[in-house]
């Protein structure tokens, strides 16, 4: 082998190393090592409420808190539970996949609703006078109704008469 050939070979090898390092370095610098789905939050960790102004905003955060609370009880993510509760078929698949019966699910959803009321009270979105009876009410409701509240918190908060009876007028005074 000629000296020129060996030199060319060495240049080729060094050039290959440099080209590879430049490419990988550039991709890593551009975020290549962290380009992956964002991690979802642990539902057992508190999720602070922003400052809700309207009934819609309160309902929005109420739903999130309820899902967090129920998911924490069941040991699943809030996202998995939200998809599961969206339809009866989804709920059945979820129960089968995680080995959960109706009783356990109902207990978890009720616990989620209690957490939502607690969070709403803590955020100043619900006065203690209303939060107390609401908390009592959701602790004994059937599963179907509990899921309906999670899915339609705005309807629940806006029309709580069926749960609170005379307290409805009080709610109307306090809620935006």
């Amino acid at each position: 082998m000629s000296g020129e050939g060996r030199w060319s070979g060495r240049v080729l090898v060094i050039g290959s190393i440099v080209a590879s390092l430049v490419l990988v370095g550039a991709y890593l610098a551009a975020g290549g090592s962290s380009y992956e789905p964002e991690k979802v939050q642990d539902p057992c960790q508190p999720r602070p409420w922003s400052n809700p102004q309207t009934l819609g905003q309160i309902a929005n955060q109420f739903t999130i808190s309820a899902l967090d609370g129920a998911a924490c009880q069941l040991g699943v993510s809030r996202e998995v539970l939200a998809r599961a509760l969206a339809t009866p078929e989804g709920r059945e698949r979820f129960k089968q996949r995680y080995g959960i019966d109706d009783e356990k699910l109902a207990k978890a959803v009720r616990a989620g609703l209690v957490r939502a009321v607690d969070d709403a009270e803590e955020a100043g979105a619900l006065p203690a006078l209303i939060a107390g009876p609401l908390r009592q009410a959701v602790q004994s409701i059937p599963l179907e109704q509990a899921i309906e509240i999670v899915n339609d918190a705005e309807g629940f908060l806006g029309n709580a008469e069926s749960f609170l009876g005379p307290a409805q007028s009080i709610i109307e005074q306090f809620l935006p």
Partner: protein, 456 residues
């Protein structure tokens, strides 16, 4: 070369090209086969693995048979088997039949390819020239395979990939028949076994490792483009054409450097660098796959030619040592696919769940009406069930769009954010496999380093 020999050289080159194209031609059709035959990713990879496995096992015995019964006969019969089995592949309506037909096709292909190397020296005038024509035909076939397969899959069907091979293989067999008619069986098998000597261990070992890395690069990239980023087979074919184009550039570079060990080392480093680049893609954008593909393409041209040369250098008969290189390369492909398939299959599943969860989180945390967001969550859930085990198409979950312009804009933004999470998941799912493939390429540097000092 005599003018009369040209059709035969063309036929032999065509035979080698069409057979070696077959080890990669189905890559772009795999997602289509996967959907149509309703199988799993692991199952569909066997359409590729079975062909390469049988070629790896049959190449050396086929070379010995070619020496014994005559290379013309072996090549002609091999091509006939290849064509017949190709027809069976196209007619297969279940995965098992397809895989069995692929195995038979590989047997015929192994006979044709190794016999072609035995026929070429007499046709082109020298063993060196024969090895060059043989290697170039194989490289061209393997490089063009994915693009041809992608175009045929989209424009016609995945079955057409196999149907089109039938007339091509038969056309290649016709000029070879005249050789077959005039040759006598040599009966040199036992003498050949004694005279052949051992294959070049280190060069063939390095070939296997590098081939595993290259097969992984091609297979994983195609799956990422079609299954992860949802490109059509033609679009994916156009994207992966960068690799063979870069390989042409690599061949030119290879001609300028005489030292085969340096070429092999540089090639292995570039293949590994390109694979590492694919492992760390910073965004799900086609343009970002081009620089890594260029490195892999140049690298494969450098390393495969250098190692094949080293493996054949000073060894005779070439058909048998050529059989060893074919065997090593295809064994490498099999090892690469077998080792990496379970890893990326599990990763795809995990990333799909992570991406859907991240996308659902985006929907839940959005300021849109709670009823609308739960409706979207429900549709995403339904879509997941419809496309079980795959990265879902999310557009249907966002249709029909709300009529209110404000809500519509919010929903469109959500769709974009969910798509971003899916793209992240699909891309990240391949990272570990690309890194492992890159490591295989780097490990090949050890046998490459030993390939001249310890010449077994």
């Amino acid at each position: 070369m005599e003018t009369s020999a040209r059709p035969r050289v063309a036929a032999l080159a065509l035979a080698v090209g069409v057979v070696l194209a077959d080890s990669s031609i189905v890559v772009l059709a795999l997602p289509e086969i996967y959907r149509e035959l309703d199988t799993s990713i692991t199952g569909v990879t066997w359409v590729l693995i079975s062909f390469n496995l049988v070629i790896a096992l049959a190449a050396v015995p086929a070379a010995l048979i070619a020496r014994r019964v005559g290379p013309g006969r072996t090549a002609a019969v091999g091509l006939a088997i290849f064509a017949g089995a190709g027809l069976a592949c196209g007619l297969a309506d279940d995965l098992s039949t397809l895989i069995v037909a692929r195995c038979v096709q590989a047997l015929g292909g192994a006979a044709a390819v190794t016999a072609a190397l035995e026929l070429l020296p007499a046709t082109v005038g020298s063993e060196r020239r024969a090895a060059t024509v043989w290697a170039a035909a194989g490289a061209t076939g393997a490089a063009l395979g994915p693009a041809v397969g992608g175009i045929l899959t989209e424009l016609v069907s995945w079955q057409s990939i196999f149907f089109i091979q039938v007339p091509v293989a038969l056309a290649a067999a016709v000029p070879i028949l005249s050789v077959a008619r005039h040759e006598a069986a040599t009966g040199v098998l036992e003498a050949e076994v004694r005279r052949t000597g051992r294959p070049h261990l280190w060069a063939n070992l390095a070939l296997a490792m590098v081939s595993a890395a290259i097969a992984a690069a091609l297979f994983l990239l195609v799956l990422l483009l079609i299954e992860g980023w949802r490109l059509s087979p033609i679009e994916a074919a156009l994207v992966v054409t960068v690799m063979p184009l870069a390989a042409i550039l690599g061949s030119r570079m290879a001609e300028r450097v005489g030292d085969s060990r340096s070429r092999a080392a540089a090639g292995a480093i570039l293949v590994s660098g390109g694979l590492a680049g694919l492992a760390f893609l910073p965004k799900a954008t086609i343009a970002l796959t081009i620089p890594p593909q260029i490195l892999v393409g140049i690298g494969l041209a450098l390393v495969l030619s250098a190692l094949t040369e080293t493996a054949l250098h000073g060894r005779s008969p070439q058909a048998i040592h050529g059989g060893w290189t074919i065997s090593s390369r295809h064994a490498g492909v099999v090892i690469g696919l077998l080792a990496l398939t379970p890893i990326f299959t599990a990763d795809i599943d995990q990333q799909r769940h992570d991406a859907i969860d991240a996308g659902t989180a985006v929907i839940l945390d959005s300021p849109i009406n709670p009823l609308l967001k739960l409706d979207l969550a429900q549709k995403v859930s339904d879509q997941l069930e419809t496309e079980k085990g795959k990265v879902p198409t999310i557009e249907p979950a966002f249709e029909p769009k709300p009529s209110d312009p404000g809500e519509r804009a919010e929903v469109e933004q959500l769709q974009g954010e969910l798509q971003d999470q899916l793209d992240r998941g699909a891309t990240h799912a391949f990272s570990t496999s690309f890194i492992l493939a890159a490591l295989l390429g780097l490990i090949a540097l050890f046998p490459i380093g030993l390939s001249r000092r310890v010449d077994l």
